[in-house]
């Protein structure tokens, strides 16, 4: 965290100065470790063994079993008490086979790379069925993996057609889950979790991860002592967890642990993902990602096992009768209205049939394989540098040469834009000749952040507005300008096309022209904020779109009158009367002139006191800062403790402290007494009493009791056990990385790798065999504080380039001595994909780890390389990602560049 998010680490240091314990678990001793109270070394790729060990330690500990808080939290707020189908088989069954029930051969499109496929019928809650959409848009669901859930209900009532869609939602109701709140039933989730992790003992953790047993126990004990009613512990992670063929399972293993420790939904608890780009959160919310459309709704799919043929089919497949997702029809219809505007009517399912469908896994890696096989002709590469950042970068650069045309937009002449030119590794090695490369390449120079208006959403879901301060030089244009002009000119060409396939583009709403309405929007802002920079009417470069109209479309407005912005997503309707691109962002622009993202009036002392600063920017949804914060109060609505008070139920409150309006029942109009209040926006129905019990046949949030904090899950509970949502198992299980230095998985001897992951074995993407003596060392890639990702925003800046001028390989002193390598000697690092040279940085910060391969001890050395360098820019070096491979996790097709194997020798 101190390495790549130093300013976030500020608050960790403030906590440490107040006595907090900082634990850092990492294969390398980094700048974060330097400030940690406890540093635990770990073999790259074995985090589930480590976390599973803590779960096992916690469940069997005296404190967890005697302190009433833990059981009260787990029974009420998690699905620990839920009974699972008897037919469910855990990885421990059949002499620890290492597989769950329901594993089958994958028969779908080979391009999707699945090595196996689960059918999660046997993972369901006993006697009920969670529809297959666990609301995590994953390639498994929206992609090519047919995931049917629950017992085949053949006699489904004919699903009525909306709008309104209330009937449709009602038709999806399923019987409630069966519970055993004593947590004794052998098939209840708690017992399944207990047996699943029973063999993750401290000794096993040492044998798998190489972390000394005492150090592991110190970590587990510290976490346990610092959780409870008056104390919370929190986790922060980055791509060290994400980039594995079981990345999502690693992160859900942490969620499982934090639920057991009662840290979810509470101040100073939870899990914080430290994301790496200014608005990577924004680009997954407003997704330039193939598998989902706005607000985490799955992208309409025509893959086998998915029934999205019509809008009704889509809503039936993806809507949950219970939880806030019951409003899916409102979100989807409003989204379609934002796409096709007036042309989207009730009669034509709001233009659903014009909307494209995905037909499989169109993620980064498969697309580059398609490109390599000549099936992709054109590419837009906007502010990304796959020639350096892409896995198996040599394959990706060669694939680029198969394109007919490539449009790159960035600030500097990045490697991706000049893969064809002298200087690129392939051209230098003679593998490609510029004359043979037929790609037509365009480079459009870009504005930088202070040269345009716009917003970023940070890693805490906080959207903040950046105000334009100066003009960009020369032909640099904003990214908005490029896409707006592309759309405007394309629509002009399609204007009078009569072909049915052009209906979509013809009806696409593209009214972002700067006109007098723009001036009105800006003047409204001037009256409220008085900030002159916001109301600056300097003329924008010719052809620039009006960005406030785009924000209005994201926020949503009454379809009939654009000046009536939606206050928040509660106003969404499913009859087309409301237009809103992103339901989760609704509320960022509640009225002309009220650009909440540009709010900068929070009292900074609040953040010093660790309290949410609601007046600064806008955090979706509805400016809530800590999600599921109902869990920060006891089931009866009172705070768990005075120290950890956040949101609680005030039974005799009659007037809303924020809006100063009396609470009234919407349906009946009578005044109501009692509401949820606190330092954060409550993540709960405002006036629902803690002891509320849902009536029979209720849908949406009415179907949840007053003690259900997890309002997005259909059972309102935090999931220790995931019956659906993840395609590679309901419980996190330790498997070895695809390229591992050992031949046998210590926990599950017959199951070395995850039974379900994405593997693309081809001659230009070969994998090292497990325990391959040619590639004995564990390789991991990572980032440095001084550079930014593929180096585009740091290697061209002298002030940053001089701080870390050259690529280096971090090698432990022991390995360096074995290989006779001195500090700053040139070494060659090689993997089955390729080899590169770099200077060795010999250090004792990396230590050899002793693990077990089968029953024999084995010493494993880690080799680390920061991957920022490329052959362009001021600071130049080899492309480290030439070494990594194309391999993916089955849920989100993320690669495994955090843990693979390599060989090192003196160059």
């Amino acid at each position: 965290m101190a390495e790549c998010h130093p300013v976030a680490f500020r608050w960790i240091m403030q906590a440490k100065l107040k006595g907090a314990k900082l634990i850092h678990v990492d294969p390398r001793f980094t700048r974060t470790s330097a400030l940690a109270n406890t540093y635990a070394p770990i073999r790259a790729g074995t985090d589930i063994a480590f976390l599973g060990g803590i779960i096992n330690y916690v469940i069997n500990s005296k404190r967890w079993n005697e302190e009433p808080f833990f059981k009260e939290y787990v029974v009420n707020y998690t699905n620990a008490a839920t009974i699972i189908e008897e037919s469910f088989k855990d990885t421990e069954d059949d002499e620890a086979a290492g597989r769950f029930s329901g594993l089958a051969q994958y028969t779908g499109d080979p391009l999707n790379g699945f090595v196996g496929q689960y059918d999660n019928k046997t993972w369901q809650y006993k006697g009920t069925q969670a529809t297959d959409q666990g609301r995590t848009g994953s390639t498994g669901q929206s992609g090519e993996q047919g995931v049917q859930s629950g017992n085949e209900d053949t006699n489904l009532p004919e699903v009525p057609k909306g709008p309104p869609y209330d009937e449709l939602v009602k038709s999806l109701l399923k019987p409630p889950a069966q519970l055993d709140t004593t947590l004794k039933d052998p098939n209840c989730v708690f017992q399944l979790v207990k047996t699943h992790f029973s063999r993750y003992t401290p000794e096993m953790v040492q044998e798998i991860t190489g972390c000394p047993k005492e150090k592991f126990i110190e970590v587990a004990e510290t976490l346990l002592q610092n959780s409870g009613p008056d104390k919370t512990s929190s986790f922060a992670y980055a791509l060290g967890w994400t980039q594995h063929t079981y990345g999502p399972q690693m992160i859900s293993c942490c969620a499982l642990l934090q639920l057991l420790l009662g840290n979810m939904g509470r101040p100073g608890g939870g899990i914080l993902a430290l994301r790496g780009h200014a608005t990577i959160q924004g680009s997954t919310d407003i997704p330039t990602l193939y598998h989902s459309i706005h607000g985490y709704m799955p992208h309409p799919s025509a893959a086998k096992g998915k029934k999205h043929d019509s809008l009704n089919d889509y809503l039936t497949a993806e809507t949950l009768a219970k939880s806030y997702w019951s409003n899916m029809p409102k979100f989807m219809v409003s989204y379609l209205k934002s796409m096709y505007g007036e042309a989207a009517t009730k009669e034509n399912d709001f233009g659903y049939d014009w909307h494209p469908k995905i037909t499989g896994d169109h993620s980064h890696m498969p697309m580059f394989l398609q490109m390599m096989d000549g099936k992709v002709e054109g590419m837009f590469c906007m502010g990304q540098n796959p020639a350096v950042g892409g896995q198996n970068a040599r394959l990706q650069r060669k694939a680029l040469s198969k394109l007919k045309w490539l449009v790159v937009k960035d600030n500097f002449e990045i490697e991706t834009a000049v893969f064809w030119k002298k200087g690129s590794p392939e051209v230098e090695a003679g593998e490609l000749r510029p004359e043979d490369i037929q790609t037509e390449v365009f480079f459009f120079p870009s504005n930088q952040v202070a040269e345009m208006d716009g917003s970023y959403t940070n890693t805490q879901r906080l959207a903040q507005w950046h105000n334009k301060a100066a003009e960009a030089p020369g032909d640099c244009r904003s990214d908005m300008w490029f896409t707006y002009q592309l759309g405007k000119r394309l629509k002009a060409l399609y204007a009078n096309s009569t072909a049915p396939r052009d209906e979509g583009i013809k009806n696409l709403v593209w009214d972002y022209e700067i006109d007098d309405e723009t001036a009105k929007l800006r003047d409204a802002e001037l009256q409220i904020t008085g900030a002159d920079d916001a109301a600056k009417h300097e003329e924008e470069p010719e052809g620039e779109p009006d960005i406030r109209k785009i924000v209005r479309e994201i926020n949503g407005y009454q379809s009939a009158d654009k000046t009536k912005h939606l206050a928040n997503f509660a106003e969404l309707k499913d009859d087309g009367s409301t237009t809103c691109a992103s339901w989760i962002y609704s509320g960022i622009y509640p009225a002309p002139g009220k650009l909440i993202m540009n709010n900068r009036d929070a009292d900074p002392a609040l953040s010093d006191a660790g309290k949410p600063t609601l007046g600064w920017g806008f955090a979706w949804p509805a400016n809530r800062r800590i999600l599921y914060n109902r869990a920060s109060a006891r089931p009866d609505g009172t705070p768990w403790s005075e120290q950890k008070k956040l949101v609680y139920f005030d039974p005799n409150l009659t007037v809303d402290p924020v809006t100063k309006l009396p609470y009234t029942d919407l349906k009946t109009g009578e005044p109501i007494k009692g509401a949820w209040v606190g330092d954060d926006v409550p993540d709960f129905v405002k006036n629902k009493k803690p002891d509320y019990q849902p009536p029979e046949g209720a849908t949406g949030l009415d179907a949840h009791p007053g003690t259900a904090p997890f309002i997005m899950k259909f059972d309102g509970k935090g999931w220790l056990f995931a019956p659906t949502g993840l395609v590679d198992g309901p419980l996190p299980t330790h498997y070895e990385p695809v390229e591992t230095p050992i031949k046998q998985n210590r926990l599950y001897p017959q199951q070395l790798h995850s039974p379900v992951y994405k593997r693309w074995e081809r001659d230009d993407n070969q994998y090292a065999a497990p325990g391959d003596p040619q590639y004995p060392h564990v390789m991991t890639t990572y980032r440095l504080t001084e550079h930014h990702l593929s180096g585009v925003m740091s290697r061209w800046l002298p002030w940053l380039a001089e701080l870390q001028p050259e690529l280096f390989v971090e090698i432990g002193e022991e390995l360096a001595n074995d290989l006779g390598i001195g500090n700053t000697d040139m070494v060659r690092v090689s993997t089955p994909r390729g080899s590169i040279e770099a200077k060795a940085l010999v250090t004792r910060r990396i230590r050899p780890l002793t693990i077990k391969d089968g029953d024999t001890d084995k010493t494993v050395h880690h080799v680390g390389m920061p991957w920022h360098w490329g052959w362009q820019g001021l600071a130049r070096g080899s492309v480290v990602n030439d070494l990594s491979s194309l391999v993916g996790d089955p849920n989100v097709a993320i690669h495994e560049a955090k843990a693979f194997v390599c060989n090192v020798e003196k160059a």
Partner: protein
């Protein structure tokens, strides 16, 4: 020599307290300093890897007024059990209470500001480089752009308009703190508290470097260290150059006197020879 410029009202001495125990080696101070003072990068990132842990700046000079040091202290055993520590520290001009550079500067370019900090005036300095040889901490050097000696100015242009220096403002973990030095909530009081807190937590080597007057009269930019100063590359008993002025001048004057006598004695024409008219004992 009286001068025409009048002396401003002296204000509370200000300076830096750098608590190295919370420094995360992120180098924000190095970049923020270069951004504010518009200092160019000598190599622009095209220099070789230093091989000295994550420190590729290597030292303070005319172009680098901030320099973050990395000191890896790990025991040789594979588990690094005896010692496992990575010290980091942001080095800067110490703005000494008794400044060696001011003592030797012949042109008056180096002055003492009303904040009791030390600043080199770029338009007065003629690059004689005496200050470089005099600085006990090796902080000053020639700025290739400006062709004069330069070093940290403690953001004299910012502090006069009430702004914080660029580096202390940028430091994420408040390892670099700026403010008045003395007084109940001055930096020195805070530093003492912090040392106390660390000692209670078992860091018994926690010490302040330059908070008292033992080191060249005290450092307006002083440090909290957890190891001997020379492990951080700081001299343990830095001296003022003027310590040698007296004895050196005295000995040289004695030498001159001896020289004079020797000259007189040796070169004196023999009186008798002169009067006697015989040539000196040329034949012998």
């Amino acid at each position: 020599m009286a001068t025409m410029t009048q002396t401003p009202a002296r204000r509370e001495p200000h300076g830096f307290f750098t608590d190295t125990t919370v420094c995360i080696g992120c180098k924000a101070c190095e970049v923020a300093c270069k951004q504010w003072n518009q200092l160019a990068s000598e190599t622009g990132g095209q220099q070789p890897l230093s091989g000295d842990s994550y420190d590729n700046t290597q030292r303070l000079d005319g172009m680098n007024w901030r320099h973050v040091k990395f000191i890896e202290q790990f025991s040789a055993d594979p588990q690094r059990t005896q010692q496992s520590r990575w010290l980091m520290m942001s080095d800067v001009c110490k703005h000494c209470v008794r400044a060696g550079c001011i003592e030797v500067c012949p042109t008056g370019a180096i002055i003492r500001t009303e904040f009791d900090t030390v600043v080199i005036q770029a338009d007065t300095c003629n690059g004689c480089r005496a200050c470089i040889s005099a600085c006990p901490f090796g902080v000053i050097d020639i700025n290739e752009n400006a062709k004069v000696a330069q070093k940290c100015t403690l953001c004299y242009d910012r502090t006069t308009i009430g702004e914080q220096p660029a580096c202390s403002k940028a430091c994420p973990t408040a390892s670099i703190q700026y403010g008045p030095l003395n007084g109940p909530n001055g930096l020195k009081a805070k530093a003492q508290e912090r040392v106390q807190q660390l000692k209670e937590q078992g860091v018994d080597q926690a010490q302040l470097y330059g908070a008292d007057d033992k080191i060249v009269g005290g450092l307006n930019s002083f440090y909290l260290l957890v190891d001997r100063p020379q492990v951080y590359g700081l001299p343990e008993n830095p001296q003022l150059p003027s310590r040698n002025l007296g004895p050196s001048s005295a000995l040289t004057t004695v030498g001159a006197a001896v020289m004079g006598l020797l000259g007189l004695v040796s070169l004196r024409k023999k009186r008798m020879d002169h009067f006697a008219g015989q040539p000196a004992d040329r034949e012998r």
